[in-house]
């Protein structure tokens, strides 16, 4: 169930978010306790080969509902460490704006972390993580430097930290998305940890997804893209 559907269900609201309505949320904007993520400058790293087709392992990946509850609890704990706040009344007034930010951040995080299928192509100097229905995360490695791609709507920075591939997106309106991609030592599992930060919410939301390899059936049709004839395919002998 998507986050916006969860939130539309009133029974869900009261069962899962007892603390949600008592937060002195006007404080949220004032106590941005988490520093924005930064990619480490020149670090020791080893490029690991992540290439292949990957599908999401839903059993191992974070359950969004659970993570959302933990996230809300964490926010409450940060704001009001002495009180559990459970039996407080419904807060009104200026609270709604920040509530909108917290819920908005969660809903947004849920959407961008779905990524059920990944196709990773990699060679010695570049990696391309193709995501279904989204733009590919692309990184080229030059002289151990982090590579920055600038667009009118934000920047994308990427680099390696030890055996972890990192992508940091700094977007407009104070939105930051940080992807940490890690391959298991046996190369059978891939983890993508996504941390989403908004400058309107004190706590970042993090979702960890696991992927396992899957094989694409071999095809004896080889296609290349051309401009005048679109895809041109030919049969290849196995």
């Amino acid at each position: 169930m998507a986050i916006h559907q969860l939130l539309q269900s009133s029974s869900f609201q009261f069962r899962h978010f007892p603390c949600l309505f008592v937060l002195p949320v006007f404080l949220l904007t004032a106590c941005a306790t988490e520093e924005p993520a930064q990619l480490p400058d020149e670090t020791e790293y080893e490029v690991v080969d992540m290439s292949g087709n990957w599908e999401k392992d839903f059993q191992l990946s974070d359950d969004f509902e659970t993570e959302f509850n933990l996230y809300m609890f964490d926010i409450q704990r940060r704001i009001n460490p002495q009180q559990d706040g459970i039996n407080r009344g419904f807060g009104g007034g200026g609270a709604s704006g920040s509530m909108e930010s917290i819920v908005g951040l969660a809903r947004f995080t849920e959407e961008i972390t779905r990524m059920p299928i990944l196709n990773i192509e990699q060679d010695r100097s570049r990696v391309n993580i193709d995501r279904e229905d989204d733009f590919a995360l692309f990184c080229e490695f030059f002289n151990r430097q982090n590579i920055v791609t600038e667009t009118p709507f934000g920047t994308e920075q990427c680099g390696w930290n030890r055996e972890q591939l990192l992508f940091l997106l700094n977007l407009t309106d104070g939105l930051q998305i940080y992807y940490q991609v890690t391959l298991s030592p046996d190369s059978r599992q891939l983890n993508i940890t996504t941390t989403v930060t908004s400058d309107q919410v004190s706590t970042a939301m993090t979702i960890s997804n696991y992927y396992r390899r899957y094989d694409v059936p071999e095809s004896n049709i080889d296609c290349i893209l051309t401009l005048t004839r679109n895809n041109v395919c030919r049969r290849v002998s196995n």
């Binding site: 909108e100 908005g104 947004f108 709507f153 997106l169 309106d173 005048t228």
Partner: protein, 346 residues
């Protein structure tokens, strides 16, 4: 529009004058394949949206088109496109591609005659103008037709300003510079050059000078090779024209939609409260759109390369083969000329 009319008027005027002066010596033009002007740093290439494989094809395609325009003007003698500088060029045109993204073309053009006189040395820039020509579908439909016409006109104006004696001097010096490259100890004596690279003719060898006749023979042999090189460039041009036209159109469309989107987004305030779901979503979608545009461009470039590569490889192979043959011929003739020289001047 006014600029276009002026250009056309200039072209017509130059052409008319050309016909009026048809008894004047006609000059040959040697075109060198354009410099790609690629930044060394791959990141700078990316920032400037330069795709090396596309640029390599352009370095051969664009001079091929200029050659067609020069030929079509009827103003010049033979127009020869070569991978390198022609040592016996009457007028040598070389260029570097400064910008070529489908929407804008900017070329640094330098044309110099055999005497060292600079005909043009400037940057020609033009934005694409969509045009349809029923009369000339090859030349008339190029979106940068006016840029090439402007180059032709500039060259034509210099040509018109020279006297027949000056034109003859250019032809003589071109022959002697070519001869001096083969047998410097003989033919450099006929020429004088200053620090600025201006050549003057001291005297011309007798018309029946045996060494000069042999040099002219070599030159004729070289023309045979050059014609083959030329044919290869022509095949390349014909082969990639439809693909390159399409690539430029896609690029133009992409650049124009990108510009529209950026202007729209910067102009309007979305009205969403900062930090709200809609605000985050919009921020992400804008970035996503921008990155997907970049990836679309990569695809266009890849499609271009997939289609052009076989033609490019064929040209590369033939140029390599021909230049090897040319070098061998040169060496062989240089040896023969030296032997003659020693025989005639013991």
């Amino acid at each position: 529009m006014i600029r276009i009319i002026i250009l056309i008027v200039c072209l017509v005027a130059v052409m008319a004058e050309s016909h009026a002066q048809s008894d004047r010596p006609i000059l040959d033009i040697s075109l060198k394949a354009f410099e790609m002007n690629l930044p060394d740093d791959i990141r700078l290439q990316q920032q400037a949206d330069i795709y090396p494989a596309v640029r390599q094809a352009e370095a051969r395609y664009l001079p091929s088109f200029l050659k067609l325009i020069l030929e079509d003007s009827g103003y010049w003698g033979a127009i020869r496109l070569l991978p390198d500088i022609d040592s016996g060029a009457e007028v040598q045109v070389s260029a570097a591609i400064l910008e070529s993204d489908g929407a804008t073309l900017s070329l640094a053009i330098r044309a110099i005659d055999a005497t060292g006189r600079v005909w043009t040395d400037k940057i020609y820039t033009n934005t694409a103008v969509e045009s349809v020509s029923l009369n000339n579908p090859v030349l008339g439909t190029d979106p940068f037709l006016y840029l090439y016409t402007e180059i032709n006109n500039d060259l034509g104006l210099v040509y018109s300003s020279l006297t027949s004696a000056q034109l003859n001097e250019i032809k003589s010096i071109a022959t002697l510079r070519y001869a001096a490259a083969l047998a410097p100890e003989v033919f450099s004596l006929y020429l004088e050059s200053n620090e600025e690279g201006i050549y003057t003719l001291i005297r011309f060898p007798a018309a029946n000078d045996p060494l000069l006749l042999r040099v002219q023979e070599i030159r004729e042999h070289e023309y045979v090779f050059i014609d083959v090189v030329d044919e290869q460039y022509e095949d390349f041009f014909v082969g990639i024209k439809p693909v390159y036209d399409l690539w430029r159109r896609y690029r133009r469309d992409q650049l124009s939609s990108e510009e529209d989107k950026i202007n729209r987004e910067l102009r309007q305030t979305d009205g969403f409260r900062r930090g709200s779901y809609m605000s985050l979503k919009e921020s992400y979608n804008n970035f996503r759109w921008s990155r997907m545009q970049d990836q679309y461009l990569e695809e266009i470039n890849e499609g271009f390369i997939n289609e052009v590569l076989p033609t490019d490889v064929t040209l590369e192979d033939s140029l390599y083969h021909l230049s090897g043959t040319l070098d061998e011929q040169y060496q062989e003739w240089q040896e023969i000329l030296k032997e003659f020289w020693l025989l005639e001047n013991p």
